[in-house]
């Protein structure tokens, strides 16, 4: 059984390659080269996923994304493709209803992995707390589950709350006292270093190499930093 994907991209040669490449992975790609044609196909077909380029000759990808969300294909997940790597656009892309975002030129394997991830998640996290994503790490606050590359990693409830608190303040230095304030519950003494023990358990669960952590970083004399950019080549 093949999964139907609609590709809206004006680059015809790339569309051809993507059709072949994704075809081998079991996806049936239909390509549209203009926003208008893409919109018509989206409305009149059944799709598992829409791959949408941000820059189209006749339409702005962001507007199109908004229109798709409002139309009858509103429940189909959208993965945006774009040459713009700006963080601004990245946020914007997700705010207006795209489910994920990939900057050109992308690694073909990464595209395949993202498609898989988006399809697995599907749409409909609305109402819940949602999933915090940092590169390959997913913190699913509804299922209270940690995943790296889709594999579930086991931690205790307190450690999960600690990680959520850190993730919500990603990129900022948090002292042990601040962390204790953020994670209420288990009464801990800031001086007994038990927080360090929890951090090292978390590292064992989510770091590729817990000895050289990339996600939870120690800043000597100050506390911990949960990295904002993880598993990424460029800022």
């Amino acid at each position: 059984m093949t999964t139907p994907i609609l590709l809206i991209d004006d680059d015809e040669r790339l569309a051809e390659m993507l059709t072949a490449y994704l075809g081998e992975a079991g996806y049936a790609v239909t390509a549209a080269h203009t926003g208008k044609a893409g919109m018509a196909l989206a409305e009149n077909g059944r799709w598992a996923l829409i791959l949408l380029d941000l820059m189209l000759p006749d339409a702005d990808g962001l507007d199109l994304c908004r229109a798709l969300r409002g139309g009858s294909a509103g429940a189909v997940p959208i993965l945006m493709l774009t040459a713009r790597g700006d963080a601004m656009d990245r946020v914007l892309g997700l705010e207006i209803g795209a489910d994920d975002y990939l900057a050109k030129p992308f690694e073909p394997r990464e595209l395949r992995a993202r498609i898989k991830a988006v399809l697995r998640r599907g749409r409909g996290t609305e109402g819940g707390l949602g999933v915090l994503r940092f590169g390959r790490l997913e913190i699913d606050r509804d299922a209270r589950q940690l995943r790296v590359d889709g594999d579930v990693r086991e931690v205790t409830g307190y450690q999960f709350d600690l990680l959520v608190a850190m993730a919500q303040h990603s990129g900022r230095v948090l002292s042990r006292e601040q962390l204790l304030d953020l994670v209420k519950g288990e009464p801990l003494d800031a001086f007994d270093r038990s927080i360090d023990v929890h951090v090292s358990r978390l590292r064992a669960a989510i770091e590729d190499n817990p000895k050289a952590p990339r996600r939870i970083i120690t800043l000597r004399g100050a506390g911990y930093v949960f990295a904002r950019k993880q598993d990424e080549e460029m800022p």
Partner: protein, 343 residues
């Protein structure tokens, strides 16, 4: 956005105002002296000629009297001319400071009006060039990356059909990544070179950012918690470029320190590499600069450090390469707290 606020800015604008009024007075005095002087000279010549050619009816005091009248009459004339030049000058200055809509008032048909008109034509051209530049930036990213995406995709498809030795394949992947990065850097350099394209300004936890970038490259990090307003992406790139540069050219031992130095923030990236000869330290921050004797193979002689300088300067700061005691280099970035906070 562009104008700083606070006591520093007040002081600046006060000084600027003072300088203006001095210039204005001097200009006025010059015009006045020229007008009055020429009339005086003329009337003196007339008086002299009448004295010698015997028209006794003229009193010798008459030229002096005429000069007095003329000097009073010249006052408003000089004043008017001064004002028009002054207006033209403020239009030129406004354009120089980035107000692209600034135009001079074209009135009358003397030299001042001609000058104003030709200034306006130049301003039009500059505005058109910048608009084109902005369009280029928006489209170049897309146009340059489309073929790169196809190249990357095509390579993947090809590798599935024929066997390409892994080393060669990885090399090709690396080349495509390098090209992509260069595109990104050139576009960013171009954007930073255009003061009319504003920077994003938001609170950035500099210590957190540095800790994250150091962890990425396994560099030692010493930092006090320090927050500043700036463009988080650009500040991250500044740190990353310096750290990558130290890793690439500065040997294995790299460390970074963030220091709160009162009025300013100091960021030091230190290495134990071969060091940079004093004469080349300043040129290091030029685009595509390559030290004498450095080969192509080592790579990384691109825009990295010149971007660091551009980013530091857009945040009102500086960057310098210093010699480190005991061998190696220190790259020191200084960012003023005040200008980061207000832009």
């Amino acid at each position: 956005m562009k104008r700083a606020c606070g006591p520093l800015a007040d002081d600046l604008s006060g000084r600027r105002h003072h300088r203006h009024s001095v210039l204005r007075r001097r200009l006025f005095a010059q015009i006045y002296v020229v007008v009055v002087g020429s009339v005086l000279l003329l009337s003196f010549l007339v008086g002299l000629s009448s004295h010698f050619f015997g028209d006794r009816a003229h009193s010798p005091l008459l030229p002096v009297l005429a000069a007095l009248i003329v000097s009073v009459a010249a006052w408003p004339v000089s004043r008017r001319l001064t004002r028009r030049l002054e207006r033209l000058k403020s239009a030129v200055e406004a354009l120089g400071e980035g107000d692209l809509a600034a135009r001079a008032d074209v009135r009358g048909n003397d030299e001042v009006a001609t000058l104003a008109a030709s200034f306006n034509r130049s301003a039009e051209r500059i505005a058109a060039l910048l608009a084109g530049h902005r369009r280029l930036l928006a489209n170049a990213s897309h146009e340059l990356r489309s073929p790169l995406t196809r190249l990357r995709m095509g390579l993947e498809l090809l590798a599935e059909k024929v066997t390409i030795p892994d080393a060669q394949k990885q090399g090709l992947y690396r080349d495509i990544r390098e090209l992509d990065q260069l595109v990104e850097e050139i576009l960013l350099a171009s954007r930073l070179d255009t003061p009319e394209l504003p920077l994003e300004r938001q609170p950035v936890d500099l210590a957190g950012l540095l800790a994250e970038e150091c962890a990425r490259l396994d560099a030692e990090c010493i930092a006090v918690p320090l927050e500043a307003a700036g463009d988080p992406r650009l500040l991250r790139r500044l740190m990353r470029n310096l750290l990558e540069n130290a890793r690439r050219h500065g040997g294995g031992e790299v460390d970074a320190e963030l220091i709160d130095a009162g009025e300013e923030i100091v960021l030091d990236i230190r290495d134990r590499g071969p060091g940079i000869p004093a004469g080349e330290a300043a040129r290091l921050f030029e685009p595509f600069y390559r030290p004498a004797g450095a080969g192509e193979g080592r790579g990384g002689w691109g825009l990295g450090l010149s971007l660091v300088r551009q980013i530091a300067e857009r945040h009102g700061g500086t960057v310098a390469c210093l010699t480190r005691a005991g061998g190696g280099s220190i790259f020191r970035v200084r960012l003023p707290k005040a200008s980061i906070q207000s832009g």
